[in-house]
Symmetry: D3
Subunit: 315 residues, 6 copies
């Protein structure tokens, strides 16, 4: 359990990252029947680990992937990986910890390629350094989101409350968004035209002082979204879940996305139109400030410094 | 280009099968945004290769995965793989040739694990010996299909006319089917309750002498289904595409599935009720006979012999 | 097997009609889980009996009501009932023969009312003289149909291809129609706004010489509708099945309904607007004439005479 | 108004139960256009009679069945029936009182069977002893529910807020459930995949201390569900109505059904997966205890004793 | 800016009403792509002008009609128009002020008719005296609403939260309503059978003391509806937004519509059935009284007097 | 009936085009409840006038706009207008003749602006010279279509088989398309994701030699589309109507739109991807050639010459 390169937990073993790969006949590749989760560190500590693990295990139950590792052991493995892998980085870097599980290797597809390596599901945890540079600028400029013609998969097919990797619709939707603006992402509508989420984040709007989230019928119960809810409670800001539509987005006072790697990121343009006055709004700033205070990390500053360091090749 | 084990075409190179694997940050694993196809051999010759390749390239266009290999080259690679890999098998074995393509490795997810191995999509072709033993008995007993509560993904999310691997709904549906009968498979309905397909095959019914297929709104344009259509034309049997429902299935005279590995396989029970008199029907037998004649292989006999040989460990 | 009053086949016995009743805890009453069919005589002969019986048994299979009487025996019972009951009527009267089957008596609901009379499903056949007077005038004036706000039950709930008696939606829809015109009936739309059927008949339109029927997704495969199809074939009139909407109805050249008791009946008004010029059209007249010729009964005349006779109290 | 057997109120008269039956041409049989309700006694007193009667009359209004009995008279008739019928039972037995109303006898269908017995709707009230033995064991083991492929009828066809007897979908859905487990019942989804109710009860889940009910769009406003809501208020447990999906059910801490005969009954398995740890949960126990306290009857004990007594043939 | 006839603001100029017209190739006529709003005066003062203007500008943003007048200027123009036009009327008359905006004149359609009069959108404001006589009687008798077969346009086509003039569905729906009762209006259902709004007003019901409104998914956020919400808050009456269906309407205690010209108007009949006891209810009376008090105008009396005056030709 | 400027038929009179305008309180402006049609000339002769007029009158019937002019008179008026207006143009110019009808002026909205000009519907016919320059280049380059997130209005709201002017969804959809490419138009999907039509034309694809059109559920029965159908019949090319999806479009061999002004125009790009090889295809060329032959006008050449002439200011 020591290596000069990052370690990956894969099918019961710790493996150097450069050797961590999946057989081409793993169900994760053949079926895309994979559930996943993502945790990040703040100052090297995994943030709300238990919530993420609990959500990951809910997805495992729903999909009946018979993982035998307990939640407690999984948390232990998580800590161990992070301890090892973070030691290889610059002390101010942070890690994203990715989980995924698949039904395992499919013997038929393995065929003459040799016996499948072993029965049981494929369970994996791996890390990568948080790429601050991807988002740092958008804290200032905000994101541009596009509602594509592709619709979100409805829960009677498979439920967005699990974090899954059968994400073809997200992939197609993001392509459509980039036709409008290469830097834009898709904001998917459900089959009834309600706003749902982006391919990587929860989406929220602010209207007359109320923070409004789509319902859980259509979206992942995000941990960052939950954090925002708690911050709103502390601030006395109403937070409601309800169906809303593109009209509400275009006429919102503010909009933002919430996702583990960056916490919260402003949306300043949707379908080419400015949200509010097109700049980052006061509620966003307030939430980010309170979030930073709550975790003892100046998030905005960490992204600025981290991006600069990484761009300069320091890590 | 020679090896004592099967070769796999992967990301531009021929690799021994035991070394063919995907980085855990390949988009095929992370997003499930993978398109695929499957061809088989008859007497070692790839059957309707051009049709399969054309279908594979249609999926590539729809998903905008920028594969640079031409269709002609892809056919050449296919032949080459089959020539090499089949030489390693018993002369009466047949091969399944699997294609898949993903958007490629995701640099962000790769992180400190080392540079992603190279840009561009992941394109792969690999083979496995046709597992005759999986289906041989069902040529006599027929299959049992169950309509689950899980619904097929509609084309406004992603289109079933491409062969894709974001197959979470299939996976969940088959779990539901196996609650009724461990040997059963799911027959998925669309969001409006129309019959679509199983997780691995087209589904057809026979009613008063007419072969009825679901429409292409809800199903893969299967090459075996196309073969059946042509056989029907030769036999003067009407073949129609239209929406139908569970009522029609339960009251059909016959039902069967069509899929490349086994051509055509009877369905004798749906939701616990017999189709027709619950035995393999005359239209099925006729189609299988004509199919065998058309390709010069007694399909039923090949499965019987192949399964016996493989069960005996001869290959 | 003789009686001065009509006989009813009920739960295995022939019973005088005045004594034929169902326990209030029969599933037909408690659940409405009843399937049914209706045959009529022409000159005392049951018309297309086999088709009706086959359709009745399809509904039995779909609902899994375990009737033990064979189709052949059921036809025999049908003939026997008609022979007996028709002898009690005026020689020019005709009979409607009604079938229904329910899952049987529910022991729990029976409670202390005494043991349920016996296990097994409730199977019943009974007759009533064809009430010519109900429709005779409409052969001249045509019917008025109204599209109500109530929608037809979709096949993923239960399938209209079986003739069933969970007909609450029909009942509610007809109430809405009668708000417009006490003599009107409802023409139900499906959940997508396609035209389906009335509460008692198939509905067809004529447009530029083509007879157009809704698809079987939404309608009973009526035996009279089938007869029309055959007559059209004989006449060289195209007959097509496809989804159509209220716009097509309002702009049709003609419209009519088809149902066993009256064969075919014109529709001259829909939602208060005339169909064509608001009078009975030439295709209707032609079809009725050919129908009459085919069965050797002048249908129009039979209704005229029968209604006059019955109104005069002669039977 | 006295009899040695239970009395039934039927079409304006009190009739001995053994003679209470419906003409086979009653609209309740022919159309299934029947509305209904069910009340039970505790210690012989009808529980929340007024609420049940009010709900019954709401259904009558919606269906326009022109019952002329006032709500006050109907309550009086209810009391009278129960007084008489309960006196025939063991003093510790309880009664279920069933109401139903249909549009009445259909003259056309009556035909030559004799004049319909009289105009107007068919209104009926009858009783049966509460069959404790049906549920007593499930208080300990919990129920197994299955989500079938059949969907709940949506309110634009007919509204589940009325208690009706056009229940074909329930009947078909329960058949599907029993394919998985002969002791299981169906938990129906709506057309959008939201959880609704079972064929005989409201369904609720507990998640992180909150009791969650489907909305009234899809479910009967159950009187027992209302009682649970009131008990929750007393206990300080949040009770919310919102759409939820199978994912939420499988990951709930507890689940139960609510229905007049048994008050509340645990659900410990859904689609073969345990709910929570698969045993009866603490919130269920607490609610049953408070319910028992509120009505002065130890419900659990009553079922145990009642079932033993009835199984032993004592009544 | 003075005229003996009313002035109209049209495309940047004040024009005498008799000369205010639109080119037949204006997009408002060719496409119906028009957004609108309507304000009224109380004692000559525009009521909640800012709210109406804000709503109008939200619609402008959603439709991207590039109006250049600021909201402040638009309010100024509004006041100016009202000052001028009201001076021409009886001092106790009130004005309705109508706004609309279209994308402007379509050069192609203009063709040889001469150059289009000028670029840019068509922005218009005009007034008409409030026609008290249209509604005064209905304060006593209540309205009759009918649920037609035509459905409301869903927000994925265009959003009802903007006040628009592509109102073909309203027009068709009102035709259907008048088939039942020439004085009735349509109460539209959405595609799922939920109650939405009428062609000119918000619709609300009262059930057990709670005022219930459809959600904003399906309805205009009416200013009068907002006033009712505020009055309810003052009265301690719960006001909730949720989906409800025709069943709820028919069994409501009261129902009413809310619209700027008349504030609030009772609904006493729906689909031919009385709401509550069929007369105007106490909550309606209370709300109207409080509304009158809040604005210092006895609304009911103003309508009575105004209608009498106008009918007598005094204005 | 003579004028140096074009004449417009409006509300019963012929009016010089510069004076033809609609009152701002015409229902065509207030409700957008307008039906329309468009005919063009070839060599000055109105093409398929009768078909267009019949379609216009179907829309009038569906909307119950009580136009009193007969179809025969309307054709006469059409000819008269064209005769007069074309004489004012260059002899090689062609005319578009536009019809529209609205329910007429709304007296309430007219208010004190003066009595509405007269009762009855507003019926209008006007012309404009065919703007060849708008499309001539696209005969070579083809059009770029985009599938927007906005969906087509379904027929249960109002039916696309009538040509209407409640076109807000088209307007919004085209805005979305222009975000991708300022020269692109929208290709709308229906609520189920099927391809329908553009805001101004029918859309067709060619796949393996078959011309495929969406069904009439979702599209206008275009006269040019009908012409293509007839040309296909002459050429022995199969022409089918069926639902298809974006996948089929992207993988079609060719695509084109059909509309009265330009007959048929190629589509070479959809959602940024080339159709076929991205150039104008052989079936398109063949159809245009046959069309030209059928009407005796070289359409392509007419557009080239007409555009050049008009660009040069010659008319």
């Amino acid at each position: 359990m020591s290596s000069t390169e990052p370690l990956v937990y894969l099918r019961g073993k710790l493996t150097p990252a450069s050797q961590a790969s999946l057989a081409i006949y793993d169900a994760g590749i053949v079926l895309g029947a994979t559930v996943t989760d993502l945790v990040r560190t703040f100052h090297g500590e995994l943030w709300r680990l238990e919530e993420h693990v609990r959500r990951f295990y809910r997805a495992l139950k729903y999909t009946r992937i018979p993982v035998e590792v307990t939640q407690a052991d999984w948390m232990e493995i998580s800590h161990e990986l992070v301890r090892h892998n973070r030691a290889l980085l610059h002390p101010e870097d942070e890690l994203c910890l990715v989980y995924f599980a698949t039904p395992g290797e499919l013997p038929v597809y393995a065929g003459a390629a040799g016996a499948a390596k072993g029965g049981g599901p494929t369970l994996c945890a791996h890390t990568f350094p948080l790429p601050f540079e991807l988002w740092t600028e958008k804290f200032e400029t905000g994101q541009h989101l596009i509602t594509p013609s592709i619709r979100h998969v409805p829960p009677q097919c498979y439920d967005p409350k699990m974090k899954y990797r059968s994400r073809m619709h997200y992939y197609l939707a993001d392509h459509e968004a980039r036709l409008v603006d290469p830097a834009a992402s898709a904001l998917l509508l459900d089959l009834d035209g309600n706003v749902t989420e982006t391919s990587g984040a929860n989406f929220l709007i602010v209207s007359e002082g109320t923070i409004i989230s789509p319902t859980l019928r259509n979206t992942l119960p995000g941990v960052s979204r939950q954090m925002i809810r708690e911050l709103c409670a502390g601030l006395g800001l109403p937070f409601v879940e309800r169906d809303f539509q593109v009209f509400d987005v275009l006429n919102a006072d503010e909009a933002f996305t919430a996702s583990t790697p960056y916490c919260i990121l402003p949306v300043t343009k949707v379908n080419g139109l400015p949200i509010g006055d097109g700049t980052v709004g006061p509620i966003f700033r307030l939430l980010l400030e309170r979030w930073s205070a709550a975790i003892g990390v100046d998030v905005r500053e960490q992204f600025r410094a981290g991006a600069a360091r990484r761009t300069a090749g320091i890590h």
